[in-house]
Point group: C2
């Protein structure tokens, strides 16, 4: 595409936090939209977005932003999806695409689907990218480069709409994968949701320590704990919604994890050296796989 014929005439971004503002910057940089309409409920955040010149128009009314949009990307916390879908539904024009950037996809379809009018195409998306920072001031155009973006269109979704969303994300630098929503939720429960739950837990456990011990835990945080504090510094509201929205898959992997942890706990209590050594040895294969998938290199850019 060229600057004269952008992929979308008008893109509306509902929500302008870290992901929304990064998408606004990437869309602008790559000339993907003729007009970027920005909407957020908070007057303060909207003013920040305007000051950062992230869009072409600014409103606190989602229906106004969505009017005449060829693409509406919902970038609000997932707990607000239902309300946003209801608000924009009357404004959506025939042929428009509605997408999102949320971390759980079955719930996205459940919450958005019922409000989407016939003739409007729902193509949920999940860019697997982020930092532990929140807010429009922390976004940047290259956030999605060399990161996966998973699209989970329901069966029977218009293929042109899927193609356009694929082009959007690929132009922003992402590698796009099409996946069933339930399968997405299962994979992410392991790669992302469980690690976050555990990180929040261990940092919470440290928070409850006696004061003198807590002070030293902070002082000597190197060697493992620091990584957990970084993960546990992610946006609390976003993560609350993720766990509520992906309950079944999270409880399933959490059950497996707890069983495995209990087995190691038993081996430690009984002093079973071979059980421990063997357990620690076999995890190396996965690490090797992760390196070979070149995921490491990509993550470095995220930090």
């Amino acid at each position: 595409m060229t600057a004269d014929t952008p992929l979308f005439e008008r893109i509306a971004l509902i929500g302008i936090g870290l992901i929304g503002s990064s998408l606004a910057r990437a869309v602008r940089q790559h000339g993907l939209a003729g007009h970027i309409a920005i909407c957020t409920r908070s007057a303060e955040t909207l003013a920040a977005a305007e000051k950062l010149e992230l869009g072409d128009s600014y409103t606190q009314d989602a229906a106004v932003a969505a009017k005449d949009a060829d693409l509406v990307v919902i970038c609000v916390p997932m707990g607000a999806y239902g309300a946003v879908a209801e608000a924009i539904a009357p404004s959506l024009k025939a042929g428009a695409i509605v997408s999102d950037v949320g971390s759980t996809k079955k719930s996205a379809i459940d919450d958005l689907g019922p409000s989407i009018p016939d003739g409007v195409h729902l193509v949920p998306g999940h860019p697997i990218a982020g930092t532990e920072h929140s807010g429009p001031e922390h976004g940047f155009a290259s956030l999605f480069e060399n990161h996966w973006c998973i699209l989970t269109p329901p069966d029977g979704t218009n293929s042109d709409a899927i193609d356009k969303m694929t082009r959007l994300w690929e132009t922003c630098g992402s590698m796009v994968e099409i996946m069933d929503a339930a399968h997405h939720d299962q994979v992410l429960a392991i790669t992302s949701h469980l690690p976050h739950l555990i990180s929040y837990t261990i940092v919470g456990t440290a928070t409850d320590l006696e004061d003198h011990l807590k002070k030293e835990v902070v002082k000597f945080a190197a060697g493992g704990f620091r990584d957990f504090t970084r993960i546990a510094a992610s946006d609390p509201i976003m993560w609350r919604d993720i766990f509520l929205n992906n309950k079944d898959a999270v409880l399933d992997v959490l059950g497996r994890f707890t069983e495995d942890l209990t087995a190691l706990q038993r081996a430690i209590r009984r002093g079973e050296a071979d059980t421990l050594g063997d357990s620690f040895e076999r995890t190396r294969d996965i690490r090797k796989g992760v390196i070979e998938a070149k995921q490491d290199f990509m993550d470095k850019e995220e930090e």
Copy 2:
């Protein structure tokens, strides 16, 4: 001190893995020893150390390396401490210092103490530094810079010996803290041992997944899981020994962690949004503390 009068005439390093070889390089770079004697049981590793020119003499016999040494630093896996202490005991000269770099300090004192002759000073140490790589080829002189080194001399230890060890580590760039061994083990159980146990567990849980799911977990490892794979790539033997040696403190914090995780699991199952949001919010303080402790910056150098 100057090049003419090194802090130690002869330093013997028993074990020449990541930490031992980094210490050899730092000691050499800062002129801390007149002679560096290197010992390791493996002929292959010894040849590698010699090829890397890490020392002035090389032997597979710990007693030979320790003979006439002013300082012996034990850098072998902690499971071998008892055997090494017995082997070097007859060679130790009066006034010599015996130290180590192991991750658990009560067990170091228990395993080394009984063999140390009268007139020899035991000053156990723990440089909180490392990478996920093992072996002499991965060491580097600056590994200890801006990292803590905790010394845990038993009550009544000769203060000159403690001072010399403090100077050694400070010259290598470390910040030195003197601490009770049991207290050290309690702090490290939280900051290091529990995070490693959890990382090994979650990567192990992923290893047991059905093949198609495992493949995708590796592919989409960004967003949390990758950090765990890095931590879980640490040396299995070292970590086996740590959990066996610090059983009580690890089981204690593991118990607290499991209680907290179970509470969050319950909140997810019951859909208790406020409980989850509050839990995730309160962990931010610790993160802030870790940043203020400037630990983050230091850890970056470790990576």
